[in-house]
């Protein structure tokens, strides 16, 4: 391991990094874990059989409620509670699996779809049974060719083996799972935009209320939208019990959870760790995980939960990856995307790159987001190019204010969806902490000494 700063008392001793069972990543090291044979050989589809033959839908729902599993797509809303929002007696209802994974820094759902597609299908069918869905849609991000291929094959095999379709496993429960896929648009990950896309429309979010999917979703029917990782946990919960799941991790953040740690660490990776108790420092420094910051450098800042999140700094390293704790500290665990920036990072460039993403991906429905994100991007790019103006920093903050009044966390929303305010997070974080880096750019047309200057020259435009 490379040099790390003197560890505080809570620093882990190697070997004491909390560990736990592999709930969703258990088949990742099996060469044939994605095939029907490999899945069944390793205990696959036993949960489905149990659910359909030994449990009522209410009992399945009850187990998921007991688990208190939080959604893994970003908002962290408990899945069992969400399922309970479906209005009784309104049919048909649908389940939509959100496999659009595109929040910068996020990499886990694609793994689950490529390496264990049957687990996701099993979780989806069990959930469809629990909520009484007439059909399920598995919406995979357009750019993920292998995931689409693996899921298509898995569905064909699952149908052939009576795990999906008419009279599943000889019971009177029937449900279809339709593989659908996107075509390149981050905003389609937002659940109401995803529904629009599934209806064959432009992927623009709907206003909530009234369009909460559980009440008025796909074809305005009650719809449950859940993330890939969320539903991939369901077979384990049914096999082992909701209470067993709850016993893992912290009571406020139950189960195991996948985190992708990228950026300036020695061995970036995707790890399934006990939720709520593992700390950022353990993830970054433990040899089992990332093995330290590269070149023995120190952490300048890190993003705890995807590009939309507020940034954290060295004082947050010993915080546990626990939803309420991170929320209270003014950010979020979001989609489990952690990005580490060491002390050579140009904060203006980092900030600009994230803002460019939101500017490019804004769907254009709300003016503050459409216009505001573009302005923000231009101002930051101007600074990077050495043409920053004395009042640019003030303008930057004014525009932020217009997209996200008060620049609060969680943001006060003046837009239809949270994408607009998300563009403010990196700016609010970086300007508050590294104001001098922005001022230095404006004054000298270049970054402060000691940071890496990128060869930025892309167009940001599509063919």
């Amino acid at each position: 391991m490379t040099d790390v700063p003197t560890p505080p008392s809570s620093y882990h001793v190697p070997g004491l990094v909390p560990s736990g069972p592999k709930l969703v990543t258990g088949r990742f090291d099996q060469a044939d874990g994605h095939t029907y044979e490999g899945y069944v050989r390793t205990g696959g589809y036993t949960a489905l059989r149990r659910a359909l033959t030994e449990m009522t839908p209410e009992q399945v729902h009850e187990e998921v409620k007991t688990s208190e599993m939080q959604g893994r797509g970003g908002a962290g809303f408990p899945a069992g509670v969400k399922w309970g929002f479906l209005p009784p007696d309104v049919f048909p209802r649908y389940i939509v699996v959100n496999g659009d994974e595109s929040e910068p820094g996020t990499y886990k759902d694609r793994m689950l779809m490529e390496l264990d597609p049957h687990q996701l299908i099993e979780g989806t069918v069990i959930s469809a049974y629990a909520v009484g869905a007439a059909q399920a849609f598995l919406y995979v991000r357009g750019e993920m060719a292998l995931a689409q291929e693996r899921i298509a094959q898995a569905l064909n095999d699952a149908y052939a083996n009576n795990m999906v379709g008419r009279n599943i496993l000889g019971t009177d429960f029937s449900v279809d799972v339709t593989l659908s896929w996107g075509a390149g648009a981050y905003i389609v990950g937002e659940e109401t935009a995803l529904i629009e896309s599934l209806e064959g429309e432009r992927g623009m979010p709907r206003l909530k209320p009234p369009f909460f999917p559980a009440a008025k979703g796909l074809y305005l029917q009650p719809t449950i939208v859940n993330n890939v990782e969320t539903l991939s946990n369901v077979p384990w919960i049914i096999n082992e019990g909701g209470q067993q799941f709850h016993d893992i991790g912290a009571p406020s953040s139950t189960g195991m959870r996948m985190f992708a740690v990228s950026g300036h660490v020695n061995s970036p990776g995707v790890f399934e760790v006990p939720n709520g108790v593992t700390t950022f420092r353990m993830l970054f420094e433990a040899p089992e995980y990332c093995g330290g910051v590269r070149d023995g450098r120190s952490v300048k800042a890190f993003i705890p939960g995807g590009a939309s999140a507020m940034w954290f700094f060295s004082e947050h390293l010993d915080m546990a990856l626990d939803k309420p704790t991170v929320d209270q500290a003014g950010s979020m665990l979001g989609s489990g995307a952690i990005v580490v920036m060491d002390d050579t990072t140009d904060m203006v460039a980092a900030c600009w790159r994230i803002v460019r993403f939101f500017a490019r991906e804004s769907c254009g429905k709300c003016t503050p987001c459409r216009e505001g994100t573009t302005w923000l991007e231009r101002i930051l790019k101007r600074m990077l190019d050495g043409h920053g103006r004395p009042d640019d920093l003030a303008t930057l903050m004014e525009v932020c204010e217009s997209i996200s009044p008060g620049i609060a966390w969680p943001p006060r929303q003046t837009t239809i969806c949270p994408l607009g305010p998300s563009a403010v997070s990196p700016i609010a974080s970086a300007v508050e902490r590294f104001r001098h880096e922005f001022e230095h750019y404006v004054e000298h047309g270049r970054p402060i000494d000691g940071v890496h200057r990128h060869a930025i020259h892309g167009t940001g435009a599509h063919v």
Binding site: F91, P92, S102, P104, G105, Y107, R110, A134, Q135, R141, G142, E143, M144, A145, E149, A152, Q153, Y159, G165, R166, N167, S174, V175, D176, T178, L179, W181, G182, A183, G184, A185, Y186, S197, G200, R202, Y219, Q221, S262, P268, G269, V270, A307, V339, M341, A349, A350, R353, I354, F357, R360, C363, H454, A455, I456, H457, G458, T459, A461, H462, V463
Partner: protein
């Protein structure tokens, strides 16, 4: 400029049959058209509109929202280099710069021989394997300049045709509609829609 051929028409009908409402098949059908011709032609959009009972303007209205759909020919191989935050931190831009030099084009354009299109794209969910790129949506991880050159050489020499189909083809396995398709969603939705 072509409509869907007979084989693809049969596939298209099968896809439409898996949704409660036909228009839901629009994006998958646009992908099918792009797979057939390498990009989405005007005739294909008209044809898709006929199949779904919507106007071709409606088809284009949706299609133009999504950046994967191309409305003019692009390279046989679209190389998408990620420059988003995790990749930027470990050399995404430097890789893109090298790619531009190697191919002799700017990001956002196509080589004269029609072999390569280069794009500067957003996060492709491979952040722990940065810098990452996709060729026709197939991944390459922790790409060095040498890796990139090798990739271009291999693609040019036709050494990767088994692994990487021409632009437009995504999954090479399709979901099929089997005998035991339950059709409960479509039946139930039809009942509601009839009211």
């Amino acid at each position: 400029m072509s409509r869907l051929n007979d084989a693809n028409l049969a596939i298209a009908r099968e896809i439409v049959g898996r949704y409660p409402r036909p228009k839901s098949a629009l994006i998958p059908l646009l992908h099918l058209a792009q797979e057939q011709d390498g990009y989405v032609t005007t005739d294909a959009m008209t044809h898709i509109g006929e199949l779904l009972g919507i106007t071709s303007a409606d088809v284009y209205g949706t299609a133009s929202f999504y950046e994967m759909f191309k409305f003019h020919p692009v390279g046989r191989y679209c190389i998408n280099v990620c420059s988003n935050i995790s990749c930027q931190l470990v050399g995404g831009w430097e890789l893109l710069e090298h790619a531009e030099h190697r191919l002799g084009i700017k990001a956002g354009s196509t080589t004269e021989d029609g072999m390569f299109t280069l794009e500067d794209v957003e996060c492709i969910a491979a952040c722990t394997e940065a810098p990452a790129l996709q060729v026709n949506y197939r991944y390459r991880y922790t790409v060095t300049n040498d890796d990139f050159d090798q990739l271009v050489d291999d693609l040019s020499a036709g050494r990767l045709t088994d692994e990487i189909p021409p632009h437009g083809t995504l999954a090479r396995v399709r979901q099929r509609t089997p005998q035991n398709w339950a059709d409960t969603g479509r039946a139930a939705q039809a009942e509601v829609d009839a009211r």
